[in-house]
């Protein structure tokens, strides 16, 4: 028994020593290699994708493309970008006009003779919790009848998407049109191909920004509410796979009526955004349908004043 143990120990030690030698031999080689003169790499030629968390297969493709591109002489792109920025800068600032007083309709009541102000009969106030006579169950939610033109909202989203597209174009070297298109395809692969089947693939920053911007447009608050600067509302939206909202829960409800009003407006914002054209939730269903597990519950933190009110 003891002999077997000695043999086992000896074999194990031998294996460890072999591994150590193997490792040291590599290190020595690396050290020798490190004495080779340093090659300077132009960082401008390194392409940085604007979409984060690209899957490895896309990264590999990008790397290969870069090798090919190295032969092409780069143009002076940074200067071009600067010019573009100048062009987009607004020339004149528009000052907000003060609100003009609107005339109220004339009171219909005729002017009465001298009368004390408290002559009116004080109504008996009864607060009751009536239940509606009709069917007490709320009507199941259906798609709203699209009677109102929604062009304005969709234009807003389109312009937002267009601006995101512009940023993409500007950030990318435009030396080769073909290359730009190919890179676009890589990004597309990153979203639709690379993430396919991956439950935990997080959304990109630009995708999150798009959702946040849409929600901000759907959220309406009273800027003059007392203490609004301290009212941050947290809600959790439960989203169906088709992008419809199953439920919205306010996570940090307070008894303060003003906070309740802001919290309810935040909850309403989710439902309003569900029903708008180009709903961010529908967008998720369309573009990120395969990673549903990642957005079936959305935690939203509404901060009314942090980003300013519009």
């Amino acid at each position: 028994m003891q002999i077997r143990a000695y043999i086992f120990s000896a074999v194990l030690h031998t294996v460890i020593i072999v591994f150590l030698l193997w490792d040291f031999s590599f290190s020595m080689k690396d050290y020798e290699k490190s004495n080779v003169p340093v090659i300077m790499i132009d960082l401008k030629k390194v392409q940085i994708g604007e979409l984060t968390n690209l899957p490895p297969n896309v990264k590999k493709q990008t790397h290969q493309k870069q090798k090919k591109e190295a032969k092409v002489e780069p143009k002076k792109e940074p200067q071009k970008q600067k010019t573009t920025v100048k062009k987009t800068t607004p020339k004149a600032e528009t000052k907000p006009e003060p609100a003009k007083p609107k005339e109220q309709p004339k009171p219909k009541e005729s002017v009465k003779a001298v009368e004390p102000p408290k002559k009116q009969e004080k109504p008996v106030k009864k607060e009751e919790k009536q239940t509606p006579k009709a069917d007490p169950k709320p009507t199941p939610k259906t798609e709203p009848v699209k009677e109102q033109p929604k062009k304005k909202k969709s234009d807003g989203l389109k312009s937002l998407l267009a601006s995101v597209e512009d940023i993409k174009k500007n950030a990318r070297p435009s030396t080769k049109v073909q290359d730009t298109q190919e890179t676009g395809q890589e990004v597309q692969d990153g979203i639709e191909g690379g993430t396919e089947g991956s439950l935990m693939q997080p959304l990109t920053i630009s995708e999150k920004d798009l959702i946040a911007n849409k929600l901000r447009g759907c959220w309406n608050v009273d800027a003059g509410l007392n203490g609004i600067e301290n009212m941050i509302v947290e809600v959790r939206a439960y989203v169906n796979k088709d992008g419809s909202i199953r439920d919205v829960k306010i996570l940090n409800m307070r008894s303060d009526p003003a906070f309740r009003s802001v919290a309810e407006s935040a909850r309403r914002a989710i439902y309003i955004c569900e029903n708008i054209e180009d709903s961010p939730f529908k967008l998720l269903a369309e573009k990120r349908g395969d990673s549903y597990q990642g957005w079936k519950e959305i935690f939203v933190r509404f901060n009314p004043l942090d980003g300013g009110v519009y």
Partner: protein, 436 residues
């Protein structure tokens, strides 16, 4: 070992199952909230007529606040038969209504019962339901109460529509100006005159219980402070002091009066106990101390004084101790008025040849001008501390002669300035507390 491995897998799966997307939304829109308000129905033709009028008053109240927009009834898809009708939420979502308020009027001889409900259209839940009973003549008051209920539930702040304004109604030429005490609803309806105009009257203020009005009158030649009993219409001189008394205001509990008194050429602030008929001197300074106004908790008093050279705003304890200057801007400051919700002091500022109405925090921070004009004065707070009313005089010539004097309301954000229509010229408004 096996167990640990399995538990690790289970833990990983649990974490995966609870993975959620996190979004930060910073900033929001501040548009008026769209509300659907179908005309209130009635069980008789008279009730239907009252329902129609009540709907108009509620609409005007909510829209005048600047916080709501009533959606045109032509756009409504569903017809609401009465307050018991269940809304088809999709129909109201389609017209982008955030809230739906509907009701009916039931008339039984001279008795009216109004029932209404408020719904959150998107959350598909009832936010409020009330049933009110009153006489047929009080339908307007009832409409204001319902507007207040909608405002309160939607904004989370108390309403102000069921309230009154006491003001000075002005007629006649500039040299022979007739000034009368008058009272009206906050929306300009139901104007009633409380004095005949023989004596010039100024700066009226309601008592907290609304049963009294204190004001300044030149009845005896010199300006003196009086108190009128609103029910009987009788007035009484406050104290029998040798000097002039002016700028009176009730304490929040209504038991005292704070006012200025000028004796031997010096103006100071005094507290007058209405029960004991005694006075207490609060300031003792050779400068002019005037325009005192209580904080809503009754512990402090804001006033203006020229003790630093120019008129500035000061705050002191109710016993006259711990006087602190809180305004330090250009020009001069006057008529500080403490907000009923306690967060702001409104004031008049005169600078660069113009009058301004402004608000500042009670420690002097956050100074902000919200309105201006050639002559713009006497800010007064709505009972919820959200809206200010003041008067503005616009002269008809460059010398400042003639012209009209009118009342205006404005939101404390500086938006939504609105003219309050009065039958004659008006000045010196003072808002009452909430009536219900």
């Amino acid at each position: 070992m096996k167990k640990i491995f399995i538990s690790m897998i289970v833990l990983f799966m649990a974490v995966t199952a609870h993975a959620e997307l996190k979004i930060d939304v910073s900033g929001a829109q501040t548009e008026p909230t769209p509300i659907a308000l179908p005309t209130f129905t009635g069980n008789t033709s008279k009730a239907a007529d009252i329902g129609q009028k009540m709907t108009e008053v509620i609409t005007a109240d909510l829209e005048n606040s600047g916080l709501f927009r009533i959606i045109d009834e032509d756009a409504y898809i569903q017809t609401m038969e009465n307050s018991g009708t269940m809304p088809k939420f999709a129909d109201w979502q389609a017209i982008k209504a955030h809230g739906l308020a509907h009701g009916d009027v039931h008339q039984d001889n001279d008795k009216l019962t109004v029932s209404f409900r408020l719904w959150d259209v998107y959350a598909m839940s009832q936010m409020d339901a009330k049933s009110l009973t009153t006489g047929t003549n009080s339908w307007r008051k009832m409409a204001h109460i319902i507007a207040d209920a909608i405002y309160e539930r939607m904004t989370g702040e108390s309403g102000y529509f069921d309230s009154a304004i006491v003001f000075i109604s002005e007629t006649g030429s500039q040299k022979k100006r007739v000034k009368r005490l008058a009272v009206m609803d906050q929306d300009g309806a139901n104007v009633r005159f409380l004095s005949d105009g023989k004596d010039t009257v100024l700066t009226p203020r309601f008592s907290p219980k609304m049963n009294k009005i204190t004001y300044l009158s030149y009845k005896t030649g010199d300006p003196k402070v009086y108190i009128m009993d609103v029910d009987t219409g009788k007035s009484e001189l406050v104290g029998n002091f040798k000097g002039m008394t002016f700028a009176p205001r009730f304490s929040p509990d209504g038991t005292k009066l704070v006012m200025s008194m000028a004796e031997r050429g010096n103006t100071d602030i005094y507290l007058y106990d209405l029960e004991n008929k005694t006075r207490t001197r609060l300031t003792n300074h050779p400068a002019i101390d005037t325009s005192p106004s209580f904080s809503p908790d009754g512990k402090q008093i804001a006033f203006n004084s020229d003790r630093s050279g120019k008129r500035q705003i000061y705050v002191m304890n109710v016993d006259g101790s711990d006087v602190k200057r809180i305004s330090f801007g250009d020009g001069s400051y006057a008529t500080p008025v403490w907000s009923p919700r306690g967060d702001y002091i409104a004031y008049t500022q005169i600078k660069s040849g113009l009058f301004h109405i402004g608000v500042m925090r009670t420690n002097g921070n956050g100074e902000r001008l919200i309105a201006n004009g050639w002559l713009i004065e006497a800010p007064t707070w709505a009972p919820n501390g959200r809206v200010l009313m003041f008067y503005r005089k616009s002269p008809s010539d460059s010398w400042g002669n003639n012209g009209r004097s009118k009342l205006y309301s404005i939101d404390i954000t500086g938006h939504n300035e609105r003219l309050i229509d009065t039958p004659k010229d008006a000045s010196d408004p003072a808002w009452s507390p909430l009536l219900h």
